[in-house]
């Protein structure tokens, strides 16, 4: 068994945009199974009702098995925490306060469970705090001004998010790398994602045009070396790519396109159609 891939988003995804975002479809695709079990951890935001409601609306109608884990309502769990965390194909972590996220995870014993899930092949994904948490460290605004905070270290390197929108964070990251406080790493814009496989960057992807990723290293003389990385723009064909595994007639491409269209329309309707929303289960 090889460790699962880790997808870190600089921002974007279902908690920040309507419909089924390409980056989220890409995350589900990484599970390489037809109906992935998908666990959402809204911990960093304090389990906010709006994030949970969006999750249920977007994923409730898709071919996956979505579930929300609330550490604020742990008494409602019907099985041990361990059984829930280790039974997933994808674990998706929402944004919010990275300091609180890690403090809560440590208080509830999550880090070891997440490491074990990763070791067993579960896809780990998330945006913002939910992306930086997997790295050696990141830059948080948990206390207002940007500050450096350590992550779980499942991926070597540092990460700063919302790069284009919030340049102050990037400055804090560069200062921390220059000072040796954090190892070299990346800045990611909203809608940009970094995919790590076996601890190495496999590719950068983007759900929208102009979402960029930069690599920043400390040179031998202590100065920073920075370069923009190539980013692959995701297209609608990335959605539900596992359909390609289906055996079928040679013209299955047409059928697949049609199915894709139906799914896309349904996803869009579920995410934005007034009056048809599922009520959040709280």
């Amino acid at each position: 068994m090889s460790p699962g891939p880790i997808l870190c988003l600089g921002g974007g995804g279902f908690t920040m945009e309507a419909g089924l975002p390409l980056l989220d479809a890409y995350a589900l695709d990484l599970a390489r199974t037809r109906s992935p079990r998908l666990l959402f951890l809204p911990t960093a935001g304090g389990d906010p009702a709006d994030q949970i409601g969006r999750f249920e609306r977007v994923f409730g109608s898709l071919p996956c098995r979505p579930r929300v884990l609330s550490l604020f309502h742990r008494a409602d769990l019907e099985e041990p925490l361990e059984d829930v965390v280790l039974a997933q194909d994808v674990i998706y972590v929402g944004g919010g306060s990275m300091v609180n996220l890690l403090a809560l995870w440590h208080a509830h014993g999550l880090p070891d469970l997440l490491r074990e899930a990763h070791r067993r092949g579960t896809v780990l994904a998330g945006l913002s705090a939910g992306a930086m948490c997997w790295m050696d460290g990141g830059v948080t605004r948990s206390q207002g001004a940007p500050s450096v905070v350590d992550g779980l270290g499942l991926v070597g390197g540092s990460l700063s998010v919302h790069a284009h929108r919030d340049p102050e964070r990037g400055r804090a990251l560069r200062a921390a790398i220059a000072a040796g406080r954090l190892p070299g790493g990346w800045t990611a814009d909203d809608h940009a994602g970094l995919l790590f496989v076996d601890g190495r960057l496999r590719e950068c992807v983007a759900g929208r045009p102009d979402a960029k990723v930069h690599r920043i290293d400390r040179g031998p003389d202590g100065t920073l070396v920075e370069r923009e990385l190539p980013v692959r723009r995701l297209g609608p064909q990335e959605r539900w790519g596992w359909a390609a595994d289906e055996p079928g007639p040679s013209d299955r491409g047409g059928l697949r396109d049609e199915l894709r269209l139906v799914r896309r329309m349904r996803a869009a309707r579920m995410a934005s159609g007034p009056g048809r929303r599922r009520r959040p289960a709280r």
Binding site: G45, G46, L71, F72, R74, N100, L104, A107
Partner: protein, 235 residues
């Protein structure tokens, strides 16, 4: 913040002993749930107090919470009111932000500290929480050198678990029904109050012979003239 019964809240404000107390709400244990914050302002926002709240999850969002120096703000309060929710989440978040130290400092300066459920358990040395599987005790802030178990009347499993833990050596303390409250001056129990007749608190400790002794405490029902004596006597 009991619905349709303001007695406990009024009592807390009286403890502050000032005309228009500054009262700050910490909804951390609920993840700073919006509906809880709204409820706080509905209850305390009427002009008789100077209400505020601290959000440790929404610090960059300008959601009306205190911004800037949270410690200085908390130390200026007359009352700090801690909401219920998850004790582990509450303590983990506070410690990450250094609020454990800040609250101790506030207590030493005479700020009234109060709260319900997780917001009660947090002040004690040991707190009994219920998850699935065996109940266990969690280290609280330790301002009060006892153990605490809440919802004592509502959840029989908790009561059994608490007595078992005390029998096994957990420091003695107090089991408290919903609607009852313990008032401490320093670390000494001063009295037990209730917002209506019925709710009781119990002194739970390990006797010399190793048996757990549970003693119902005398309860003063708020709003009544004479302290009631229904609660007195061993249970």
């Amino acid at each position: 913040m009991e619905r349709a019964n303001p007695r406990m809240d009024d009592f807390v404000l009286d403890l502050a002993g000032v005309g228009r107390p500054r009262i700050c709400f910490l909804p951390t244990a609920s993840g700073d749930a919006d509906h809880y914050v709204v409820r706080f302002y509905r209850r305390f926002g009427g002009g008789a107090t100077e209400p505020s709240h601290v959000s440790l999850f929404r610090r960059d969002r300008g959601a009306g919470a205190v911004e800037g120096d949270i410690e200085a703000h908390l130390l200026r309060q007359d009352v700090i009111y801690v909401g219920g929710g998850s004790l582990l989440s509450l303590l983990g978040t506070w410690r990450a932000h250094g609020l454990d130290r800040t609250l101790r400092r506030a207590w030493e300066r005479g700020v009234v500290l109060c709260g319900l459920s997780a917001g009660s358990l947090c002040w004690f040395r040991d707190a009994v929480t219920a998850f699935h599987g065996p109940s266990r005790s969690v280290r609280g802030l330790g301002l009060l050198p006892y153990s605490n178990c809440v919802h004592y009347d509502g959840e029989p499993e908790r009561r059994r678990a608490y007595r078992r833990l005390v029998a096994d050596g957990l420091v003695g303390g107090f089991g408290v029904d919903d609607g009852a409250a313990l008032v401490f001056t320093g670390a000494a129990l001063e009295r037990v109050v209730a917002s209506r007749p019925g709710p009781t608190a119990y002194d739970v400790r390990r006797g010399e012979d190793g048996e757990v002794v549970e003693t119902a405490l005398r309860v003063h029902v708020l709003g009544s003239q004479v302290p009631t004596t229904d609660g007195v006597g061993a249970a």
